[in-house]
């Protein structure tokens, strides 16, 4: 419980943890999936599992955009760097993610023009500043990020920029939850819903989970107290036999989401018939592509993309971890062949990937114990 002292309101944390123990029936187990990778990171970094009774198991969900991207898509994007006229841009999170022939950073070390941007707007700026080059933005992210790409494309069209291209890998969370609920052998009692995705999409899209799958879902903030309150809200629903959408993160999540952001997404993006997710396979209508009206900005239409399909290293068990069927440390490669320094799978690359979160937490704890 070392972490508790750091918290802003330790007495409230202790009280929330007591409330959870009071609500949890010791005769049964509870399996809750936190959908968002930011939550996974926060849960480990705050040591929240130590505050929960052992019969509450937190399953880490698919909400880490770099983790769910198939290696073939990374290879496809990086294939463009072989063209001398291309400037390839991506978020810093992508830079160490391995493709079959190396990560973006390794391509850069070999001489490719690969650049980090912190915003899609900056990729557009690069295009405007370098009219003789073709600037490709490798777009990833859920609905938190997709509106920013959409607005950037609207700006690009309004400004008549002809050398800016988006390689669109935006995915949407609801179809992934469908796929998870449909996967055989997975027992889940409830969901902790994502915070900032819900800032955009609101709470309504989750209503089917409650109604059809009969699972409670509580949209949660990122503070320790937020997450503990959300667990308690789930337990109250289960205890009362309710399955509803509840919003714990009201201070950032309006029930209807951000309509301007949703409109920008709708104006620019269409839904792909299906898309491959790492570990989860092909999921219908789970990803976005550029609409016909934005075709001239679409990297997949402008360039000849190889359409690479690359299998994950067979020993890696990323898929089972992503579906919550294995805990990260149960993977054959965890902490041995696969570490944050030498990642084999993407779950070990991003700080929001569950493997990296567990690995870093265990090392942090070992250092505390040794000290």
């Amino acid at each position: 419980m070392k972490f508790v002292d750091e918290f802003r309101a330790p007495e409230l944390i202790t009280r929330a943890a007591q409330e959870i123990r009071r609500l949890a029936d010791p005769r049964r187990t509870y399996r809750m999936m936190e959908i968002c990778g930011g939550h996974t990171y926060a849960i480990y970094r705050f040591g929240l599992r130590d505050l929960l009774p052992p019969n509450i198991e937190l399953i880490h969900g698919p909400g880490c955009p770099v983790c769910v991207l198939p290696m073939g898509r990374i290879d496809d994007g990086l294939s463009l760097t072989l063209r001398p006229d291309v400037i390839f841009t991506a978020f810093g999170d992508m830079m160490r993610v391995p493709g079959t022939k190396g990560s973006p950073l390794e391509y850069k070390a070999r001489g490719a023009d690969v650049r980090i941007v912190y915003s899609p707007a900056d990729a557009l700026k690069l295009a405007i500043a370098n009219p003789e080059r073709q600037v490709v933005f490798f777009a990833i992210g859920f609905e938190t990020t997709a509106p920013s790409t959409a607005l950037t494309l609207m700006r690009a069209r309004a400004a008549g920029v002809g050398n800016f291209f988006v390689f669109c890998n935006h995915v949407t969370i609801i179809p992934a939850l469908h796929a998870i609920l449909d996967s055989p052998g997975l027992q889940l009692d409830a969901f902790i819903g994502p915070g900032h995705v819900s800032t955009v999409i609101g709470c309504r899209p989750y209503e089917w989970i409650a109604a059809q799958a009969r699972k409670p879902i509580v949209i949660s903030g990122f503070e320790p107290l937020d997450l503990l309150e959300s667990v308690a809200m789930v337990l109250r629903q289960l205890k009362a036999g309710r399955a509803e959408v509840e919003n714990q993160y009201k201070r950032a999540v309006p029930w209807d989401g951000n309509r301007a952001a949703l409109k920008a997404m709708g104006d620019v993006f269409a839904t792909r018939p299906d898309f491959e997710w790492r570990g989860l396979g092909w999921i219908p209508q789970s990803a976005l592509c550029l609409r016909e009206s934005y075709a001239t900005f679409d990297a997949e239409r402008h360039f000849r993309m190889p359409g690479i399909r690359a299998a994950d290293p067979p020993a890696a068990q990323c898929g089972e971890v992503l579906k919550g069927m294995l805990q990260p440390a149960q993977c054959r490669l965890f902490g041995r062949e696969c570490t944050p320094e030498q990642p084999v799978g993407a779950l070990m690359v991003s700080s929001e990937g569950s493997c990296a979160a567990v690995y870093n937490h265990e090392h942090h704890r070992a250092a505390l114990d040794a000290g």
């Binding site: 930011g38 650049r115 980090i116 707007a121 900056d122 990020t145 920013s148 301007a260 929001e352």
Partner: protein
């Protein structure tokens, strides 16, 4: 990636592009406020920023709490590095 950064609007840009100057822990950068066009922020308002775009308005108290969460997560330096990088289109190695 989904840990948004709190910032205070210090100036609304005059051009019709929906840009604003924000301040995050003393660092001032231009961000895009186009996603808030239904309820545009004013100078002095606090917003949550993600990849250079304001996602929503929040209260000053919630902004302070969000910054504290980032500090507790050890992500505050990365957040300020991100904000410092806005507008550059080019940056140092990770």
């Amino acid at each position: 990636m989904c840990l948004a950064i709190p910032g205070r609007i210090v100036e609304i840009s005059p051009e019709p592009w929906g840009l604003a100057m924000v301040e995050v822990s003393g660092v001032r950068r231009k961000i895009d406020i186009g996603l808030l066009q239904d309820d545009p922020p004013q100078v002095g308002d606090w917003v949550l920023i993600h990849v250079g775009f304001a996602l929503n308005k929040i209260s000053e108290k919630d902004a302070a709490e969000q910054m504290r969460v980032l500090e507790m997560l050890g992500e505050n330096e990365a957040a300020i590095e991100e904000v410092s990088g806005y507008g550059s289109g080019e940056s140092a190695e990770p």
